[in-house]
């Protein structure tokens, strides 16, 4: 028996408007662009993908199951502009076949800089999940699957049963991501590791005509899943939800593939689908995976250099978190919210200079012409945050 564990990440940042040093108002966000992108992705991805998932749950009478993580920022955007999308997620939650995973509300890197803030944002997110979907999350995933032993330790203390991260080669070595593991020095926190080969076959390679396996059929993919039998229990397919319809456009056949897959996976009766909690309840851990250094699911390096790889990123993150005590202690709710929205990891991703010259996935997601523009814009906004703090003190 091999169990497919689908986990989809749903996230949109609050993109910043062009903010010059000569600006002095406190409107930092590009409402127009954020709304436009939210609408576009809702129509191309979220609604059609939710419809497919809903149909699959009906068709397989509860045997098809998936897990999601929706960030606080994307949920706020849905509430502003696309209540219909939020309603469709609520409808999926009501089927009982969908699990929601906890993360930091603002999709932040707060774990690295401010432990209390990390705990607070996670609490906010759990509360939101309960409010919206009636579920108290049992499983945690940190922003972009950033992870090390310390994250595991803290997350276990916060009461979670399991944590998700990348099945990076350099931490697994010869071992397979298709088992459940424990982190070292924890009680019984479970680790679910992304099977990046099979995940990326769908998320990145599906429409690549130069790929030897193109065009990928559900039948063929189900065969690869079936091969896990004998060398593993789970097939962790973790990916951005935007894979469906946004990164891989509808005309690539990605929705048909998704719709056809469960039939083929469950055809012989030996394989099934589980949510993340079901997987950790069903299968016991087979060993320990030690991750002393930060890993993530980004780029080929699978490290955190996409957000913290150059001087500008380090400086921006440091300067922003240096304001934590002043912002949080001031009690100005609007200022706290603005500051938290500035923690979203995307702002630092835009400042990444890796591969910038070659142009690639980083550029596609980047609203700025260059990482330098992203940094300058961000630092100007931080200046204004400081100015507001100074006014508040005076």
């Amino acid at each position: 028996m091999a169990s497919v564990v689908f986990y989809f990440q749903v996230h949109q940042p609050n993109r910043l408007r062009r903010y010059s040093i000569f600006d002095s108002d406190s409107n930092y966000f590009d409402g127009h662009a954020n709304r436009e992108i939210c609408n576009k992705v809702a129509d191309k991805c979220y609604l059609p993908a939710n419809a497919v998932i809903g149909r699959l749950i009906d068709r397989h009478e509860g045997r098809f199951r998936v897990s999601y993580s929706l960030t606080g920022t994307v949920i706020e955007q849905f509430r502003h502009w696309r209540q219909d999308v939020l309603d469709s997620f609520v409808a999926l939650a009501e089927t009982g076949c969908v699990e929601f995973i906890a993360e930091t509300y603002y999709h932040s890197l707060s774990f690295l800089y401010h432990r209390d803030e990390f705990i607070e944002q996670t609490r906010m997110h759990c509360q939101l999940m309960e409010e919206l979907f009636g579920q108290k999350p049992r499983v945690f995933r940190n922003t972009e699957l950033t992870y090390n032993n310390d994250v595991a330790k803290v997350v276990e203390q916060m009461g979670f049963d399991a944590i998700l991260t990348e099945g990076a080669d350099h931490v697994l070595g010869y071992r397979s991501p298709n088992f459940i593991y424990n982190p070292p020095n924890c009680g019984d926190l479970r680790m679910l590791l992304k099977n990046y080969r099979l995940s990326d076959d769908v998320a990145f390679r599906f429409s690549n005509r130069d790929w030897a396996e193109w065009p990928l059929t559900a039948e063929r993919f189900a065969h690869w899943v079936d091969q896990i039998n004998g060398n593993g229990f789970v097939c962790n397919l973790f990916m951005d939800y935007e894979t469906f319809g946004e990164h891989q456009w509808s005309d690539t056949g990605i929705f048909d593939f998704l719709y056809a897959l469960p039939d083929h996976v469950m055809a012989a009766g030996k394989n099934n689908f589980l949510t993340v909690s079901q997987a950790v309840d069903r299968y016991g851990p087979v060993g320990e995976v030690d991750v002393p250094n930060m890993i993530s699911w980004a780029d080929t390096e699978r490290d955190i250099s996409a957000w913290l790889g150059n001087n500008m990123q380090a400086n921006a993150l440091h300067d922003m978190y240096a304001l934590a005590e002043a912002v949080l202690g001031g009690g100005d709710e609007q200022l706290i919210e603005d500051w938290r929205k500035l923690q979203t990891s995307d702002h630092f991703y835009y400042m990444c200079t890796k591969w910038f010259a070659d142009g690639d996935v980083h550029k596609y997601f980047n609203p700025y012409e260059s990482p330098y523009d992203a940094y300058i814009n961000y630092m100007n906004i931080l200046d204004n945050i400081r100015a507001r703090l100074a006014v508040a003190r005076a």
Binding site: I21, F22, N311, M312, T353, M379
Partner: protein, 482 residues
């Protein structure tokens, strides 16, 4: 493969990008073993009746060869002038085994305009001025003769192909009579030299050499490559000089292949000059890494004042007024700063007035034109280099700034902006954004560091050798097509 190159400026007198590019390309070609016969206009004729040109050969043994002004015939073989002390130009050529240099007395400068021609003339000693005027008057009479006579068999192929004959008539002004006359003189001297040379392809750089290129092509039947480093639209905006435009147009149309320094320039040449795009190639310029950064004789003065540098000709094309407008805005937020305007040009007086009007006097320094080691010195003192050009076909100076480890802001209206990623870019007219970015660099050391680190790496993708390899491919295609 041997190239007959009609180019500009050799060390030690390099006043800008055109000269830097010609010299760099020639060294690149030398490095990959392409022979170059380089025809260089030299400002002052030795004597009006003396040799019409001087030839310097590479191969470490320097021989100076002189040729009489009359068309060379086999029985009047050039003499070898012995024991000439090598000047910097000679030394530069001597390092290049595949290059020979012909110095031609033509009063041409890389960035000549009607006004600057007068300036050059004024800068000469009275003796030299007299010589020049004598040469010019001889030329005019020669030209009148040529214009008045029917195309003879002897001069026919060259002169009929030279489009300059048409504009000299009737226009009468200094531009036509002097600068354009010099262009024509240069063309006829180039044809003379070409008759004594064997070569496979002709390569002419910018409009003043196009007539010479066309003439040599007509006389020799060899394919012509014209290299567009800038167009009249870059230099003059919409107020183009019709004579210059006509020369440029005849050059790009008469050539077998046009090389542009960027896609920006390629678009201009295709759009404004009506050249089929598939006839135009883009070959980017490059830069040499400085070898003597430790030899500047500088003791850095520790001070808090940041130095923001403008370096280039102070002309409309380079956008100096936008630099000063941005400077004004910067000083509203940040006062430990000095703006240095290094360069000369026809907008200097206007810029000085602008500084006074903006009350920027204590923040702005004018250095005049910098040459040689002074350029390296000012770069080594700069915290930021700004190139606010209104229209910049390529822009080598930002590469030079990066090679001195100076962060760079360039205008988006520049060719180099197509290839540089680790720099800051602004629209030249957006002085708010220019000031925003200047302030960001001055205020945030991590931004400076990141720009420097990545800029140094990015710089390695520019090499004259690579540019030369592209040129060799273009030459080979033309020669094979023969």
């Amino acid at each position: 493969m041997k190239v007959f190159m009609l180019g500009w400026e050799f060390p030690p007198h390099i006043s800008g990008g055109l000269g830097t590019a010609c010299y760099g390309m020639t060294r690149g070609l030398n490095e990959i073993g392409v022979d170059v016969s380089f025809v260089l206009p030299t400002a002052v004729p030795e004597t009006p009746t003396g040799p019409s040109h001087v030839t310097l050969r590479g191969l470490n043994t320097v021989a100076e060869r002189t040729t009489p002004p009359a068309p060379t015939s086999p029985d009047r073989a050039p003499d070898v002038a012995p024991d000439v002390a090598p000047d910097p130009t000679t030394a530069a050529v001597a390092r290049m085994a595949h290059v020979e240099l012909h110095r031609v007395p033509a009063l041409l400068q890389a960035y000549a305009t009607a006004e600057s021609f007068e300036e050059v003339l004024a800068s000469l000693t009275p003796d030299q001025q007299a010589q020049v005027r004598q040469v010019l008057s001889t030329m005019r009479s020669e030209q009148d003769e040529a214009d008045g006579s029917a195309p003879g068999a002897e001069q026919g192929p060259s002169d009929s192909a030279v489009p300059v004959g048409s504009f000299a008539k009737g226009t009468g002004g200094h531009y036509a009579g002097d600068l354009l006359g010099q262009v024509r003189r240069y063309a006829s001297l180039a044809v003379q030299i070409a008759r004594t040379e064997r070569f496979d392809v002709i390569h002419a750089h910018d409009w003043m050499t196009f007539p010479a290129g066309l003439a040599v092509a007509a006389a020799s039947g060899k394919p012509l490559v014209v290299h567009v480093h800038s167009t009249e639209f870059d230099r003059a905006g919409e107020n183009v000089n019709q004579d210059v435009y006509d020369i440029e147009r005849s050059g790009v149309h008469g050539a077998d292949r046009v090389v542009c320094v960027s896609y920006l320039t390629r678009n201009t040449v295709a759009g404004r000059y009506g050249v089929p795009p598939d006839k135009i190639e883009v070959v980017y310029n490059a830069v040499d890494l400085p070898t003597d950064t430790n030899d500047l004789g500088m003791t850095p003065i520790r001070q808090n004042e940041k130095l923001v540098l403008f370096l280039g000709r102070v002309t409309m094309q380079k956008g100096p007024e936008y630099f000063l407008q941005a400077a004004k805005k910067v000083t509203e937020k940040f006062t430990d700063v000095r703006f240095v305007m290094a360069g000369s040009g026809d907008m200097i007086a206007q810029c000085v007035r602008q500084v006074a009007d903006l009350k920027l006097g204590r923040y702005v320094t004018f250095t005049g034109f910098l040459r040689g080691k002074d350029v390296g010195r000012i770069f080594s003192m700069a915290d930021l280099y700004v190139m606010p050009s209104v229209s910049e076909p390529f822009g080598i100076a930002p590469l030079e700034a990066l090679s001195h480890n100076v962060p760079v802001i360039i205008s988006k209206q520049s060719g180099v902006s197509e290839v540089l990623t680790h720099v800051l870019k602004v629209d030249f007219w957006d002085t708010d954004e220019m000031a925003n970015k200047i302030l960001a660099v001055l205020r945030h050391p991590p931004l400076q560091r990141t720009l420097r680190q990545h800029g140094a790496i990015e710089l390695r993708k520019f090499s004259w050798r690579d540019s030369a390899i592209k040129l060799r491919k273009i030459y080979a295609e033309l020669v094979d097509a023969e």
